[in-house]
């Protein structure tokens, strides 16, 4: 089973939930956890895995053999990203704009374009106390987050349970992380920002046809913004409410796991997991 932990809004507690859930479950079953927030991967700060492997994620960018090039300009015509241009007897390639589609190399009439690897990030694999750990990390200044997320998801072991820590938002990186998962836990907070962005995330999951449940973080005991009414109307179960608690905030600040600092949270998370599994049972 593959479960993504996502949220429209950043900073709602995705990483807290994903790390503590995986940590609690690992004693029961075979679990792996994937950090797909490749812009800002934070899961390792809480789980401290030992990394054993590292792979570079590359895209293919053009390299022009000017001895064969007749400067016809076809490559520049077909490139939709403005990543290659011909000025007089020069071909200029802008690697940071290239999406690696391969069109220029395929369609060059002179076969003057080769493709070379350009690193855009890396995927690291490791483990911590029986918990398998995979993370993607985009290189600073790069933009191909979905490619790196897909490389991380290649590491999914279909025989066990996989928990994915997804990036925030609802655009291509979030979609890349949540595509093909069995269930998605949406973490939100009871503020207008949290609710607004939760609605966007639900819209995304509607399009991806992924079943979902909600976890409310920093719960204050009163719903001032209509979060519960929204969930009821959309028939989304509220799986858990995590109260606003300075001890939880402090554990997070120091990179400590909630279930280690406040062990009473472990059974609550395991119960949440039961509810998710039960909800998926046919």
């Amino acid at each position: 089973m593959i479960v993504a932990v996502a949220s429209g809004k950043g900073g709602t507690g995705k990483t807290t939930l994903a790390s503590n859930l995986a940590w609690s479950l690992r004693e029961k079953e075979k679990v792996q956890i994937l950090d797909c927030d490749v812009d800002e991967p934070n899961l390792h700060l809480f789980l401290h895995p030992v990394f054993e492997g590292k792979e570079t994620v590359n895209i293919k960018i053009p390299s022009v053999d000017e001895s064969r090039c007749d400067y016809c300009g076809k490559c520049a015509d077909i490139c939709q990203y403005g990543a290659i241009t011909v000025i007089g007897n020069h071909v200029l390639v802008f690697p940071e704009l290239c999406h690696g589609c391969g069109g220029c190399a395929l369609l060059c009439p002179q076969k003057a374009i080769l493709e070379i690897d350009k690193p855009v990030g890396e995927v690291e694999t490791g483990s911590v106390n029986e918990l398998a750990f995979v993370q993607g990390r985009m290189a600073v200044g790069e933009v191909m987050a979905p490619t790196i997320i897909q490389a991380v998801k290649q590491k999914i072991n279909s025989r066990g349970t996989t928990i994915i820590d997804a990036p925030p938002g609802t655009s291509c990186p979030a979609v890349a992380a949540c595509t093909g998962v069995d269930y998605c836990i949406l973490v939100t907070e009871p503020t207008p920002f949290g609710l607004h962005d939760l609605k966007l995330a639900v819209e995304m999951l509607d399009k991806l046809e992924v079943p979902r449940g909600v976890v409310v973080n920093r719960w204050t005991g009163v719903d001032q913004i209509g979060l519960e009414a929204y969930c009821e109307e959309k028939e989304i179960p509220i799986l858990l409410r995590i109260p606003f608690d300075r001890r939880i905030a402090q554990a997070y600040a120091q990179g400590r796991l909630l279930v280690e600092v406040l062990p009473e949270w472990r059974p609550r998370l395991l119960k949440l997991w039961d509810v998710v599994e039960w909800g998926l049972m046919k």
């Binding site: 812009d39 934070n42 790069e142 938002g169 600040a253």
Partner: protein, 304 residues
């Protein structure tokens, strides 16, 4: 003749007119960026406001804008296979680097609009069709004009839409002769962030005293440095973990990046958001006073 001289003087003034762009980003989400931008908007007397978090824009929830006009935003075209012409040869599928074609249909979520399939199809069964991938809005708020946008769910081109928001904001600022643009930025360090910070006068990074806050701050400062944009740091909720705050300050000293603000944890920040009011308009003292001091320093930085 007098008229041309006045015209020339007018032009000279135009030339001397200097517009500043301030961007507020955070790397990590949830550090309080939008609450602080909303407060700056209320404190700035004569600024144009923009929200470049086109994926999950929230600033409008604080500023209560009235939309003046809305515009469709066209992203990259997407491939579409005409089933009547398709002979199911599979050339498109095997050459698509984005795995966007399966069963002779294009998955619009995965299609990056490169057009390789369109060029290669022997039957010319593939068209590239326009794709409205979002909207941008021009709006009026009590604190000044606001340009913001909404990217369609699951769409690409967030960077392009950000560039459009910035372009529209700049044009508006020029036409109104406004001297300051305040921009709320997106989380992360990817394409929308790069498009947001490109060419601005100051990037203010809002961080928080947590391990994740520091980790993400490091990457955001690397990004600002990579694109040679001046940066300063503000620590929000700094008293939640004073040791971590000190660690952040030490890192900034080492990087020669100035920490221009320390905002204490204040529950009224959340209360203000729940009421839909910029925090500085909601109360005084505590975090609100700290935000006003940060605003003073930001202005000094911009004038330097």
């Amino acid at each position: 003749m007098a008229t041309p001289i006045i015209e020339i003087m007018g032009r000279c003034r135009m030339g001397a007119y200097e517009m500043k762009e301030l961007v507020i980003i955070s790397g990590k989400g949830g550090t309080g960026k939008t609450s602080i931008v909303g407060s700056f908007a209320a404190l700035a007397e004569d600024a144009i406001l923009a929200d470049c978090d086109v994926d999950a824009s929230d600033l409008h929830l604080l500023l209560q804008p009235v939309i003046k006009d809305r515009h469709d935003f066209l992203g990259m075209k997407k491939a579409l296979i005409a089933q009547a012409l398709c002979t199911q040869c599979g050339i498109c599928e095997s050459n698509c680097r984005f795995d966007a074609i399966q069963g002779f249909r294009v998955d619009p979520f995965s299609c990056e609009g490169c057009g390789v399939c369109y060029h290669l199809c022997p039957q010319q069964a593939i068209q590239m069709v326009d794709n409205v991938c979002g909207q941008w809005f021009s709006a009026v708020t009590p604190y000044g004009p606001l340009i913001y946008a909404r990217l369609g769910i699951g769409e690409e081109n967030s960077g392009k839409l950000v560039a459009e928001v910035k372009k529209q904001t700049k044009e508006l600022a020029q036409s109104l002769s406004k001297e300051l643009i305040i921009i709320d930025g997106p989380p992360g360090i990817g394409c929308p962030v790069i498009a947001t910070i490109a060419g601005v006068d100051l990037v203010l990074v809002i961080t928080e005293p947590t391990v994740a806050g520091l980790h993400d701050l490091v990457r955001v400062l690397q990004l600002a440095n990579h694109f040679q944009v001046p940066a300063a740091v503000c620590i929000n909720k700094w008293d939640l973990d004073e040791e971590k705050s000190e660690e952040i300050e030490a890192y900034c000293r080492e990087q020669k990046v100035e920490v221009i603000g320390r905002i204490p944890f204040d529950r009224r920040m959340t209360e203000a958001i729940i009421q839909g009011i910029p925090p500085v308009k909601y109360g005084s003292g505590g975090a609100m006073e700290a935000i006003q001091r940060v605003w003073q320093k930001v202005q000094n930085h911009l004038q330097a």
